[in-house]
């Protein structure tokens, strides 16, 4: 372009000094955003005039740490088409290089030790570039110009296979996979456990050994064309699957060509496309074109990232290990997105998205929110950026808690931010709460406790930049209410730091404590008892009658208030209906019964009504609907129709209640969130219903509606609360 100057990478971003003829300089500034490389994101360009100097040529000035600015460590980016072409070209010098990357693709977050982003501060530092790689790295015109993880087959990391010795690691892995055995594969964010998705025995063995008896398993297909045989994939979803984030996308299943053991409780299939070069090489020459790719861990432990650790921990599951020697600094699970008629919904925001921040409408203080105990993520805010962490997992054991603490530290280093306050859930027994209490005490920081459902609502308000009060419909399994009861289906008025409970699901006593979630007949009996006033054999459908013998014990416990908290839980109501209709017996894993209920539902006109009792709070009472379901069963209506009718009636009740509250409080916007809205039928039913009433529904599209999105909401709410206290 005939311009001279210099560019340097620093913690505030990229600083470019450019000089030359005016028109060219202006064109350069324009093109900076317009012609940015595909994987980059230019958030803003600010140009100021500088004195002309005597210079020629364009120089790269080494990075320096400068004062506080905006930090961007990029998320990991799926391998790009250009790199794939080179890797598959027998004449290219990177032919067959399983770690190929360039400025536009490759690992970032998972290999970074600290900022600014430079090779010495990544796990590529033990691999000094060979002369040819250096030449590309230094060449401004090359696609590998300053691509930090660049290497080649000569100087780069290597694949190995265990058990060894083995001189063809990929060939060994392929032979095991085609032979119906299980291989642990080290990828970008950690290890995967893989097996042939067509082989029923392989899948059954994987489930048994991993301890994942029934949860859906993600499937990586060799190509989009192969995936299309097994899933209905609309164009937008195809772009998401093939894009830089390469998440797992849950799509409607098509036909039954894969072994049914892949996802027994749902008619969706979790589709993944090869996103690391090693995946592409693996499929090249593999007979099967569909591999189960589940995270390399036992049950819900954190994902394995280290070779030795994997062999030790996964040795009882995997028959072989495809390893490499590029360290994974930070483990990061695949992201999971559910494709619904209402648009894509995050079930898990992780690889490909983290650590890119979620934009907040206003600048806030640095706050660390610790999230909840299930599907934990934490969140650190800084300015207008909310850095939500990758998926941590269920905080129910020491190992995960240790991982949590370590990641909190790591993110603070990457973002160069220490919080001035902490936020956590109201629940005193959450491990996250206890950790936050300890940390706050140790650091002398204030701790703000945020009610669970209010936090969910706050996340949506922040995401959409809403500045007026809203009605929020938050439905999930359980969250502690400010009255000490179990809340789970709440209508709130949210106005920044001020919020109020306007309505909720009829409360009942849920017998059995934790068992109420695992064994659906408990909430089922409790709800039927409420609906009918009494439980007797004739009222119950046949498949429940043999349980009736347990009822007196339950009733006694409920009456005495023993282990039977008062609850307004949507999740347990779904469980109860799933049990009543015979589609589930309980939750072998979180959400199983409602998932099965959703899977069995079809659109239905079968008449079911709820009753809405005005008052403060307003109560949504499913009693008439439950009676209607019993009648439907007696009358021989199909389960599919009854399940669909239940969803419809629940959605109608929520919409009706929201409409009344909006009218009373003269509001027009309704926020929808909570784990129950991972159910596409509910989300569509409520959002469409609200629109028909002239209201504006908003739901989370940047973070999960379930507890994976709790931390973001806690941070936002805490920032509002602190601002209101000081200001």
């Amino acid at each position: 372009m005939g311009l001279a100057g210099e560019v340097s990478n620093h913690t505030g971003g990229v600083s470019i000094l450019v000089q030359g003829p005016e028109a060219e300089v202006e064109a350069f500034v324009r093109d900076l955003a317009a012609q940015a490389p595909p994987a980059s994101r230019v958030d803003s360009v600010s140009a100021i005039a500088a004195p002309v100097e005597d210079r020629s040529g364009f120089a790269i000035v080494p990075s320096e740490r400068t004062a506080q600015g905006v930090i961007r460590v990029s998320p990991d980016i799926a391998v790009c088409a250009d790199c794939l072409a080179e890797m598959l070209d027998p004449l290219d010098r990177r032919h067959g290089h399983p770690f190929i990357n360039c400025t536009n693709c490759g690992p970032r977050f998972t290999i970074v030790n600290g900022v600014p982003y430079d090779r010495p501060r990544t796990s590529m530092s033990p691999f000094p570039m060979c002369a040819r790689c250096w030449a590309e790295y230094e060449n401004v015109a090359d696609r590998r110009f300053h691509a930090q993880p660049v290497a080649c087959v000569e100087c780069g990391p290597r694949l190995t296979y265990h058990p060894g010795p083995c001189d063809d690691p990929l060939g060994a892995a392929r032979a095991e996979l085609d032979g119906g055995r299980i291989v642990a594969i080290k990828g970008i964010g950690g290890f995967h456990l893989a097996c042939d998705a067509y082989s029923a025995p392989a899948v059954a063995r994987l489930r048994r050994r991993k301890g994942r008896e029934l949860k859906p398993l993600a499937v990586m297909f060799a190509s989009l064309a192969a995936a299309r045989r097994y899933a209905h994939i609309p164009e937008d979803a195809a772009r998401l699957l093939s894009g830089p984030q390469a998440p797992i996308v849950l799509l409607p299943r098509r036909g039954n060509g894969l072994t049914p053991g892949v996802a027994p409780d749902t008619d969706s299939i979790g589709v993944l496309l090869p996103y690391a070069p090693v995946h592409v090489l693996l499929f090249n020459g593999l007979i099967t074109d569909a591999l189960i790719m589940t995270s390399g861990n036992l049950a819900d432990e954190p994902i394995c990232t280290d070779n030795g650790e994997a062999i030790a921990r996964l040795g009882s599951v995997a028959d072989g290990f495809l390893l490499h020697d590029r360290e994974i600094v930070t483990g990061c699970d695949d992201s999971v997105i559910r494709w619904t008629p209402s648009g894509p919904i995050f079930l898990r925001r992780s690889r490909g998205y983290v650590p890119y921040p979620i934009a907040l409408p206003d600048s806030v203080e640095p706050i660390l929110a610790v999230g909840g105990d299930l599907k934990n993520t934490f969140c650190l805010t800084r300015g207008q950026d909310a850095y939500a962490s990758q998926h941590i997992g269920d905080l129910d054991d020491e190992r995960v808690l240790g991982y949590f603490a370590q990641q909190v530290q790591h993110l603070q280093e990457l973002v160069e931010t220490e919080p001035v306050a902490l936020a956590c859930d109201l629940h005193p027994d959450y491990l996250s709460t206890r950790w936050a209490e300890g940390y706050a005490t140790a650091k002398g920081l204030p701790l703000i406790r945020v009610q669970h459902h209010y936090a969910h609502a706050a996340a949506v308000v922040a995401e959409h930049g809403v500045r007026e009060p809203v009605v929020a419909i938050i439905a999930d399994g359980t969250g502690l209410g400010i009255d000490g009861a179990v809340w789970g289906c709440e209508l709130l008025l949210v106005d920044g730091p001020r919020w109020r409970r306007l309505g909720h699901l009829q409360t009942i006593r849920l017998p059995g404590g934790d068992m109420a979630a695992r064994e659906a007949w408990r909430p089922c009996f409790a709800w039927l008892n409420y609906a009918l006033g009494d439980l007797d054999e004739d009222a119950l459908p046949e498949h429940l009658r043999n349980r009736l013998v347990m009822w007196p014990v339950l009733l006694a416990a409920m009456t005495a208030g023993i282990n039977s908290p008062i609850a307004s839980s949507a999740g347990r109501l779904f469980d109860a209906v799933a049990c009543l209709l015979g589609v589930a017996e309980g939750n072998a894993y979180e959400g199983q019964a409602p998932m099965r209920l959703e899977m069995s539902a079809e659109d239905s006109d079968y008449p079911l009504q709820w009753s809405i009792r005005d008052g403060d709070p307003l109560i949504l009472d499913p009693q008439p609907a439950l009676v209607g379901l019993l009648r439907g069963l007696e009358g021989g209506h199909s389960i599919a129709s009854l399940a669909g009718a239940f969803h419809r009636s629940f959605a109608e009740a929520l919409v009706g209640a929201a409409k009344r509250l909006c009218a009373t409080h003269r509001l027009g916007t309704v926020v929808i969130s909570g784990g129950a809205f991972q159910n596409a039928r509910m989300l569509a039913g409520v959002s469409e219903g609200l629109k028909r009433e002239g209201l504006t529904p908003l739901w989370p599209t940047q973070s999960p509606p379930g507890d994976g999105g709790l931390a973001l909401g806690q941070a936002v709410a805490a920032s509002w609360i602190r601002a209101s206290l000081t200001g």
């Binding site: 036909g255 039954n256 060509g257 894969l258």
Partner: protein, 360 residues
């Protein structure tokens, strides 16, 4: 006289196979287009005997497998009609259609009867004059003349309650389509044995003359097949493609003129749709005007509704010779004879069924 044991002799077979290895220098892609050849090849492990220069793939040689989804669906729909008796050859019964299979319809109470000959269908029609007896007329030129003869007999005897679902296809046309299409790259055909007994070996002359593709008509013993492969290698190495008849005991250059004339008295060629290969001109049969009343589709006014096979099923790729059965990801895993995704695994002439039956 008909002592074919020499044609199954293992020692002779190995010798011929070694000879093939010695003769074959350039890479050569061959295709068999007959289900019974696929069986012989799988049963006697002939692919494993051939040198690495030779790739032998199965083609569209099974008349049940090449029936497009809509023909299968039509047969299943007919079976659901209470007034219809469906008579069919056995291996159609478990082929999965869009909504179940004939076997499932039979289990639900549909009247589906397996016959060994079209004459059995005629006999059924005679015995049960109050029912409409539909015969699923499927098969290549080996079977169609018998079906034609049956219709002549039915017409002569004034039988009115017999109708045919015509699913017949004819052989040389798909071979031309595969070669002209260029996708599968076949350079030599092991031509079907019994189809050739009817149509004659000269029916394949155009493949050698116009397309330079070597042809050898083979019998069904393992040595028949090996001799045919040897002939194809010799033709290819010499650059002189022709039509060699290894099965001369049953196949004449002009075929069986009498059978052909019976066939053409009743049927005429028509364009037809093949599973996996699409529409091929002059590759099917339809009833000539004097016999039109025997066609069930016009008789009952039913339409074929084009339908797609199971999305995971690769039978189409297998029939086009671009995917070998053991390389199909579903082979033996989610597709087995007990729960097939498509016809190739469940028809007695299917390439996948043959590989499965004789897997080591």
């Amino acid at each position: 006289m008909m002592d074919a044991s020499a044609l199954r002799d293992a020692g002779l077979g190995r010798t011929i196979a070694e000879d093939i290895a010695r003769l074959s220098r350039q890479p050569l892609k061959l295709m068999e287009v007959c289900g019974s050849h696929s069986h012989t090849i799988a049963r006697y492990g002939i692919r494993e005997l051939l040198p690495p220069t030779i790739e032998l793939v199965p083609g569209p040689g099974c008349p049940v497998c090449v029936a497009p989804q809509e023909e299968i669906d039509l047969a299943i729909d007919l079976a659901r009609r209470p007034e219809v008796v469906v008579t069919t050859f056995g291996d159609l019964v478990r082929v999965p259609g869009t909504n179940g299979s004939m076997a499932e319809v039979r289990a639900e109470g549909g009247d589906v009867r397996i016959v060994l000959s079209p004459m059995d269908a005629l006999e059924t029609a005679r015995r049960e004059p109050e029912r409409m007896v539909v015969f699923v007329a499927i098969g290549f030129e080996t079977t169609a003349p018998g079906v034609a003869a049956t219709l002549r007999a039915a017409a002569d005897d004034g039988v009115t309650n017999l109708a045919l679902l015509i699913a017949h296809k004819t052989m040389p046309a798909p071979m031309r389509a595969l070669v002209a299409g260029g996708e599968c790259g076949v350079q030599g055909f092991i031509c079907p044995g019994h189809v050739s007994a009817i149509i004659g070996s000269e029916a394949y002359r155009f493949l050698a003359d116009d397309y330079g593709v070597a042809c050898a008509v083979a019998g069904f013993e393992p040595l028949d097949v090996l001799l045919a492969v040897r002939s194809l290698v010799i033709q290819h190495e010499a650059g002189k493609p022709t039509v060699d008849v290894e099965y001369a005991r049953a196949v004449r250059p002009e075929g069986n003129q009498r059978a052909l004339s019976v066939l053409l008295e009743v049927f005429e060629p028509v364009d037809a749709r093949w599973r996996g290969l699409g529409q091929i001109p002059d590759s099917g049969l339809r009833l000539r005007a004097p016999y039109a009343e025997f066609d069930v589709e016009s008789r009952l006014g039913i339409q074929r509704i084009p339908a797609d096979p199971h999305p995971a099923c690769r039978c189409g790729d297998i029939l086009r010779g671009v995917l070998a059965p053991p390389k199909c990801p579903a082979f033996g895993r989610t597709c087995t004879p007990d729960h097939p995704l498509g016809p190739c695994m469940v028809s007695s002439e299917g390439a996948c069924a043959a590989e499965w039956q004789y897997r080591p």
